[in-house]
């Protein structure tokens, strides 16, 4: 094993451990963890036996193992970007609901205060 291979494997292991720690879903957590472990395992095998990657590339009609890796990575990056955009949209929707609830609550409190300060000035608010 060359030094560079060791360096790559350490990187993959660090990424895998961090992914497993930060993956906190509820329903699909186990599936995500299995996928992450499988990806890490595949990466380590590919680092230790680079020729294997070339064999797979040839099987799919791609010239070199490195090219094959690049194409798979591009698809991976795109899928990741889409997942991130969707997650952000969901999180934005939650922020909107939260901000609206805060704004409406503040308005209710203001109504109550003006109602108690000026009892004649009723505006029929619902507490």
């Amino acid at each position: 094993m060359t030094f560079f291979q060791l360096f790559l494997i350490l990187g993959i292991l660090t990424a895998a451990v961090l992914t497993l720690r930060f993956l906190r879903g509820e329903r699909s957590l186990a599936v995500k963890r299995i996928l992450a472990l499988a990806a890490a395992l595949a990466a380590i095998i590919a680092i230790l036996f680079p020729d294997l990657l070339t064999t797979i590339a040839h099987f799919f009609g791609v010239g070199r193992g490195a090219d094959f890796l690049l194409y798979v990575s591009v698809i991976g990056v795109i899928l990741f970007a889409v997942a991130t955009v969707r997650a952000k949209a969901r999180s934005d929707a939650r922020v909107t609901q939260l901000a609206r609830a805060v704004a409406l609550m503040e308005a209710r409190l203001l109504d109550q205060r003006s109602a108690t300060n000026k009892p004649s000035d009723s505006n029929g608010e619902l507490a």
Partner: protein
Amino acid sequence: MTEAPADPETNGSHLAESLGQNNAVWVVIPLYNEATVISAVVEDLLQVFPNVVCIDDGSSDSGGQVALEAGAKLVSHPINLGQGAALQTGFEYALERGAKYVVTFDADGQHRTVDAQMMVQRAQDENLAIVFGSRFLDDRTNPGFMKKMVLKTAVAVTNWTTRTRLTDAHNGLRVIREDALRKVHLKQDRMAHGTEIIVQLGRAGLPYAEHPVEVLYTEYSKAKGQSLLNSVNILIDLLIR
């Protein structure tokens, strides 16, 4: 500036009548950095509609305070969420306070109170759930060639995708009855919410009509109005829902 709405006892009977009639009408104004014009808009509306609420959408100017001093109710988003979100907040605020009709009105002074008044009247008389304002039913409004093209394209796509028959999809002046309001849940904050409202109201299957209104293109509203780039957003929002 800070004067309360006209006292029915001392003012003309016509005014008093419309104020009384409009007790269950709430005017909802999304407000975002419009401090210079909002005061006049609110004061004008309060002559006819006793309930005016401004939704300050995280403005960086003092617009909310100005609206409050002009006599409007104020709801403040702690952060900027977008105009559609502000409208939705206004709807929920108004429903909470027993609104029978909600009027959506732009803060920049491009709509006329008279038009809003006539639209509410029409909704009541003709038992309509929604009255959309349209600047294209007569030739009072002159938006200019480019703007007209943009708006016409938007409305064509809107009609095509929502199976409604409208002439002006992105007019901020609308009257919505309580039952229709309960079916509106504007979700995507930054979507062309004019479209989202129509999509949702169209699905509700309630009776609607368009009413001719005049849009006043002041220098101020021209400077702030929807840019051509925004029409790209409107089209994409419509096609990819």
